[in-house]
């Protein structure tokens, strides 16, 4: 399980009931079939249908032989960003990139690597997450290059926008997921521990903890479980779960956040972690949160 800490970023807006993500429903309220999802992605008249279909195929990890070719063609629908044009095509492309990561097929790698250099920051973000989920070692160098300019470059705020110059969280997370722990990678990540935004610090600590297993990198994450903002505590929960850092059991149970998210974090401790506390202790802690 690759625990993405922003599971809803690319989910159709009608269903962003975070942290309740209801079983996928169409606008009419009926679950759709794989055939129906493929049909919606194949047509190109209604982009909102394509948008939903691409998300659905990823969520369901569709293994249909048409899935990868259709998602790749949806990824190619992107257009140069111009005011008032191409936004919908790019939204479909972003969901397609995300879905390609979830479906888990190496055929998507070359186009995802190309998307990592796209002008559309949202598409770079989705491609980075997908390459992280696929564990693509060829992505390590381009990911590091995107981050190499550090806090003053990649990590700087854009004027008049809440966004940073690069989708740093996704890039950092992907490096952690891929798991190449050489010094070039570590040196690229370390500066982001000092980023002014707690979510970036959390992503950097998560990646370092995943890559090295050094307890010292768990400290920033445990500290963020006490952060005054719920959004930050949620991110720290997802990050500790993604790493599977079992010593975090008690702080996870204590933090002020929804049980749904604590359960996801503890699932991560069980599935990705080893050692103490034991599996039975972790399962009992999960039972108490049901």
């Amino acid at each position: 399980m690759a625990t993405s800490r922003s599971p809803i970023v690319l989910v159709p807006l009608t269903m962003t009931g975070f942290p309740e993500s209801p079983t996928p429903l169409t606008a009419a309220g009926d679950p759709i079939s794989e055939e129906e999802a493929l049909r919606r992605l194949r047509q190109d008249q209604d982009h909102s249908l394509q948008y939903y279909a691409a998300w659905w195929l990823g969520k369901m990890r569709s293994q249909h032989p048409d899935t990868i070719p259709l998602l790749l063609s949806a990824l190619r629908q992107r257009q140069p960003r111009e005011k008032g044009a191409g936004v919908e095509h790019n939204a479909v492309a972003r969901n397609a990139a995300q879905a390609l990561g979830k479906v888990g097929d190496g055929r998507a790698v070359p186009e995802l690597l190309a998307a990592l250099a796209d002008e559309d920051e949202g598409l770079r973000e989705a491609a980075a997450r997908a390459l992280g989920e696929l564990g693509t070692t060829d992505a390590v160098r381009p990911l590091c290059e995107r981050l190499a300019s550090g806090l003053a470059g990649a990590g700087a705020c854009r004027p008049n926008s809440p966004k940073l110059q690069e989708p740093c969280e996704a890039l950092l997370e992907a490096l952690g997921e891929i798991g190449e722990a050489d010094s070039m990678v570590l040196d690229t990540i370390v500066p982001f521990l000092d980023h002014e935004r707690p979510l970036i610090r959390s992503a950097a600590a998560r990646a370092l903890l995943q890559l090295t297993g050094e307890p010292t990198w768990a400290e920033p994450l445990l500290a963020l479980l006490d952060h005054p903002q719920l959004q930050v505590r949620r991110a720290a929960l997802m990050d500790l779960g993604a790493v599977g850092w079992r010593p975090a059991l008690d702080p996870i149970c204590r933090t002020q956040a929804e049980n749904s998210l604590k359960l996801i974090a503890l699932r991560g401790l069980l599935e990705h972690g080893i050692g103490e506390p034991s599996a039975e202790t972790l399962l009992e802690a999960m039972d108490d949160l049901l």
Partner: protein, 241 residues
């Protein structure tokens, strides 16, 4: 923390006057944090009353106030209200069932959690419906675990059997839920359901066969669900101490 000195011997009208003040504080709260604080105080005072004077029925006005809070769209206050209602146990069930509003999804979801936590069989039909149909995984999850912890010891044996059979059927259906956390809760609930049974009964055999499916890598994709089902099987099949 209570806002008055605890005493099991308080006269009833004093208790009522104090709850009236606490309810008033909830009604007059004009910010989310005030509502949260007032709800916590009211819920805690009800829990304390229950602990100190178990024979004293909790004031219906206060229970009804907690049930109304479930519909206020303030998650922190709703959590506190659910805890207060669960602390009042079976005494809260009639008020909860009477206050159910199908048009307010959020309120109903919290009410299901309270009913699941209380474990009173009068909530069974609501839990069945929630487990089968609710759109929120956290509501289905709570309903599932509630099915495993319904209190049946005071029921006549025949009635007890019927309740257990209905719980089992609902849990078997939910073992195919699309969300892992619901299947996880089903595994935990099946363990609890079987623990209650004295000897190997038919219901227990059926529960074990559902647990075997949830523990099977060919039929269950999510490792943590298999781990939970495996733990349940180990506990149920090992000789009891």
């Amino acid at each position: 923390m209570t806002c008055f000195e605890r005493s099991p011997l308080l006269p009833r009208d004093t208790i009522q006057a104090r709850f009236a003040a606490l309810i008033d504080a909830v009604e007059r709260a004009d910010s989310a944090s005030q509502l949260l604080q007032a709800t916590r105080t009211l819920a805690q005072t009800l829990s304390d009353l229950r602990q100190d004077s178990p024979a004293e029925p909790p004031p219906v006005d206060a229970l009804a106030c907690l049930v109304r809070i479930l519909g206020f769209n303030n998650p922190g206050a709703a959590v506190a209200a659910v805890e207060g209602l669960i602390a009042c146990g079976p005494d809260a069930v009639a008020v909860l069932l009477g206050g159910l509003d199908d048009r307010n999804y959020g309120a109903k979801a919290w009410a299901v959690r309270a009913l699941a936590g209380i474990g009173d069989v009068r909530g069974l039909a609501i839990l069945e419906q929630a487990l089968a149909d609710d759109v929120g995984p956290s509501v289905r999850r709570a309903a599932a675990i509630g099915m495993g912890t319904l209190r049946v010891s005071h029921l006549a044996p025949e009635h007890r059997q019927t309740v257990r059979q209905r719980s089992l059927s609902a849990l078997q259906g939910a073992s195919k839920d699309s969300e892992w956390v619901v299947r996880y809760a089903v595994a935990a609930a099946l363990e609890k359901l079987c623990m209650e049974l004295q000897a190997r009964e038919r219901i227990c055999d059926e529960a074990l066969s559902t647990l075997n499916i949830l523990a099977d890598i060919e039929r269950e994709d999510v490792p943590v669900v298999r781990l939970r089902a495996r733990l349940a099987l180990n506990r149920l099949l090992s000789p009891r101490a």
